[in-house]
Symmetry: D2
Subunit: 350 residues, 4 copies
């Protein structure tokens, strides 16, 4: 049983079927094909508004290009210290924004509050050229801690962003998992709560390589195609991305795979708690961060379980790992079976 | 019959089969999977030397990142005025090289000579900071005019690059077509002729989205993974790229599809010449640029043929379109059938 | 007698006096001092409109930052092939614009026409992402050939820029020389003719290090201070730049030095013509490009004259240097004396 | 009495005299003049080794270009959270390094320790592409808190930098103040302690606009002139920078002005302590950060004193301002008189 990451899985059957279906015949390149058009229309249906959609191949590209489109010279981009853009994208956001500074806004459970954002922004008063200027705010949904911002959390963060007239970006690498967790609609979790631009991730949830930058205000999307192309992120055979999305959305497959992954995470969490264990953060999506004794972790490994150990800084003392404990990250996906979970829990002694 | 571009085709059967084969099961992300390793080894076999290979999703990314790895402040990159990097990549090479300048080196038939390169480089004498400094040389194989540099052409260009101690890049978006055209080995057409870094294109010749940056000197490849990741071009499910290459190379499928495309181009060229027509440039790969009377072009369109008109500047007066003529670009691919060609030629009246 | 360049001279007496006058006492840093304010007001008087003025230390910085403020991803900046931004700024414009492409618009006498601009821009049709997008137009006044655009030339270029909705930049490294040459007002030669942003050069005409970016529309200047600071071009002791401008403008000193330099150039040109010589381009500002026999050039050098030889490509056959001739560049400045000129002409045998 | 900043002062008499002395006559531009050469030789004498010296106009430029020359894709630059490059340069270091990330290394008294550096660097293990890679380390001497790294502090930081094979940069905006404070030689405080590249600041200590990037290893300086020019930071009338340095170094004027500024700071500190006050950090250079009651601060202002209030986060509770206290920053310079200090102290009631 392998809980290393949701990007260790391959592609789902509907995604593969769609790719196969569209693999023959000729179609215009660079996104002017009918399939790209129909999939784009599908995005507008799903988001209940007329969106602008741009396919790219990686989440890092989606995030960085979205932020680039709101970049300013000396611009500060506000995000959680654990955000993917802050720690896992090798400076791509900084590069694509021509030198933006990612400013960490601390907060528990992988989330920051509107108040913390306001405090962080206060270091960048308008008109003081030395410190640079506020450029954008980025939140991750679900977060790197497997938690989820509530709709209200997002709306309050938006109101602070509005005070300083900057855009709100959502890194939705695990968008579907958060959506299912909140039982919200895509519209509610994005533009209705104030999100200006979304990195819509589909790769982790069953595609090969399908991410989309989604703008909810077409005016803000103007010229974005130049950012994408300048970054080398415009696919020639664009329909291969479109086909993946077609399969992804078919019969709400995407919500099904996300729901399954979340359930598997809950099943893990329940078993861990039953065994007397605890998790570093609430389990709200498809990631579980158990704090376990080192001998148990050894037993898991010996039993064939795969996962990463996780640095779990900044936890409450009541939760943080003691000297003989360690925090793990367990990620579930569409490819995780109940059996995987149960074998794992059996090893734990549940 | 559609001759718009080779990137209008989908994916070949071996490529789709490989993708399907590898779509289930878990594998490490970001290129540390066994499939990526085995495909990388295959590249070394094909090139008869120990190469460093980096998969990316677009030719623009491959070119721009390759050039970025040889960038210098105020750096000049020498290429043909028709080069893809010069006219078709929306400033991606300039952006990835942090402001490099693409200097056009003119030449007939889409190629420049070693002498023309030397002349262009002379505007950038060493040590004159105002003009910037020479950074790299880029040739396209096959060229945007459907022609092919001979091995000797490349070697002579390399010797000029060496005089100024800069790297030689080859944009091989249509690498296989050139290879087949020259009956050369991959090694002969690259490192044996002096190429330092190659954009190895597989998308146009039968993949969905599979390009590779290939370094022939591992020392020059050091740190390149940071350029790729900083550009947002590292795939998480890297095996989807590897799988495409696996299918691409299987039983030399790639050489077969390229040979087929080249043959279809020759068949077109032969028919056009039979009909008394001429081509703007020699037909050496999978592109044909006939110069035709406008009424013929109308007839082709009415008959259902698809293609682009082409700006054919700088041609000899004996070849250039007259007032009632126009130059077309016809691109063939693995998906072009003899029937496509023959119907087209019939419309032409052959 | 030294005609190497106008930047070989030092500073004029009024400039030095102003610097000395303001060298003691304390004043707010970074441009909030009273002197910067009064000098800024002086700029508005001189240009007969409410301008936004930003001091920087080099012409390269002025040009590149001005262009950066109008940059777009994949942006094309149109300029003459001999423009300083194209050949003498080591990629600074490309770097500051995050990878802009400088597109050469050819034209005789160092100038391009509105028609040539339109032709060059046609390679960048709106909406074709591959080629990038038009971003700005830059003209040099006076030009690198020592010639001057007429007010009408500028207005016609502006109308083409307007068609494509891009800004018009003027590189005024030798602004005063052109102004005096045209007997125009600063307003006429800039915003009244359609210039959006000006690099106002004062260094070559008598300052140490005083250039200004001048916007004629305050809305377009919004946020420019962040570009300047991000480039490292905001002086802390800003009054040292302001002081130079104070001295420069005092009693119209700047027009006097420019007029003197232009007169010295005319005196040179007249003498050269008297001696039967010719110049490569009309002498309209403070640069003279005589085409002389090599033996004469030797004699000049032996006599102590200093100057650069000049590559004079693209000249009419009737003007271009023959095999035993060479083109020189002679630059005059406030520091050039009539004696310098006469000794030079005597060596020529006039 | 004005303690706002040392960059509120003008230029010293020797600096003005040197500028006047060199203001006439012609000299080669762009740094090839004899004066630039002789001043460069003077730098080598002062540093007791053969240095490479590059003049620029601002400290932000010096810092950012120095860091640019050691940049890597996805590169992390380690500095104190209060460092000028981190909070006061509007993203110039990020921009010049094409998207470098400034990683804060916390530490008391404006300094970080070798241990803290090692800890911060551990988040960037070699070969983990996601997090980026270590690129350089930057320390500020004297610091933003008016303290000074000992030679041993520097050497220990260097040894950590060496472990990861990255360069050590020193931001010496107040280099002379630190030097005088330590009674060290320039060599001891730089290359002998392991500094690779120094931003040598002269502006705050008596020049108008004179900063230098100094490399102690000529090999590391190779190509730096292209970084400077690409940034728009190469002065044409370079001798105006050289002249300032000539005056600055004359008869050790620079050490005298720094010693004076430091003495004035000590006089302030002594008086404040006499009056029962305390300072937030030790007074080791030319900055004093007294923590004073608000009513006293009002009295100072009413008496005509000028200064900035200072955010003094992270102080020990025993030192930090209470609710009715505030921390001030008082900066002294060559232009501060004993009288200024005494009048200030009188207002304080000493």
């Amino acid at each position: 049983m392998n809980f290393s990451s949701d990007n260790w899985a391959g592609a789902t059957a509907p995604v593969m079927a769609a790719l196969a279906r569209h693999s023959t015949g000729l179609a215009p390149a660079y996104g002017s094909d009918p399939l790209t058009e129909s999939v784009t229309a599908r995005f507008s249906e799903i988001f209940e508004t007329d969106v602008s959609v741009f396919f790219v191949g990686t989440g890092t590209a989606a995030n960085s290009l979205a932020l680039a489109s709101f970049a300013k010279p000396g611009g500060a981009i506000f995000c959680h210290p654990d955000a993917h853009i802050q720690v896992d994208e090798c400076g791509c956001p900084e590069f694509m924004t021509s030198g933006g500074k990612l400013v960490s806004v601390p907060g528990t459970d992988g989330k920051f509050t509107a108040e913390a954002l306001q405090e962080a922004m206060s270091a960048f008063p308008d008109g003081v050229v030395h410190h640079g200027q506020v450029a954008s705010v980025s939140i991750t949904q679900s977060t790197e801690c497997g938690t989820v911002y509530t709709l209200d959390d997002i709306a309050r963060i938006k109101s602070v962003a509005l005070e300083r007239d900057v855009a709100l970006h959502m890194d939705g690498a695990r968008f579907a998992n958060a959506l299912v967790s909140l039982s919200a609609t895509p519209a509610e979790m994005t533009w209705k709560a104030g999100v200006d631009v979304l990195s819509f991730g589909a790769t982790k949830n069953g595609c090969w390589c399908a991410e989309a930058v989604v703008f909810f205000n077409r005016e803000q999307a103007r010229g974005f195609e130049y950012f994408r192309k300048r970054g080398g992120h415009l696919f020639s055979k664009s329909r291969f991305a479109a086909a993946q999305f077609e399969g992804y959305f078919e019969e709400d497959a995407w919500l099904g795979t996300a729901a399954h992954a979340n359930e598997m995470a809950q099943r893990l969490a329940d078993g861990i708690r039953l065994a007397g264990g605890r998790t570093a953060w609430p389990v709200e999506a498809n990631e579980v961060f158990p704090v376990l004794r080192r001998d148990l972790v050894e037993r898991l490994r010996d039993g064939g379980a795969a996962f990463y150990e996780w640095s779990a800084k900044g936890l409450d003392l009541s939760i943080a790992p003691s000297a003989d404990e360690v925090c793990l990250r367990l990620v579930t996906s569409f490819a995780t079976s109940e059996d995987d979970v149960d074998v794992f829990l059996n090893l734990l002694g549940t």
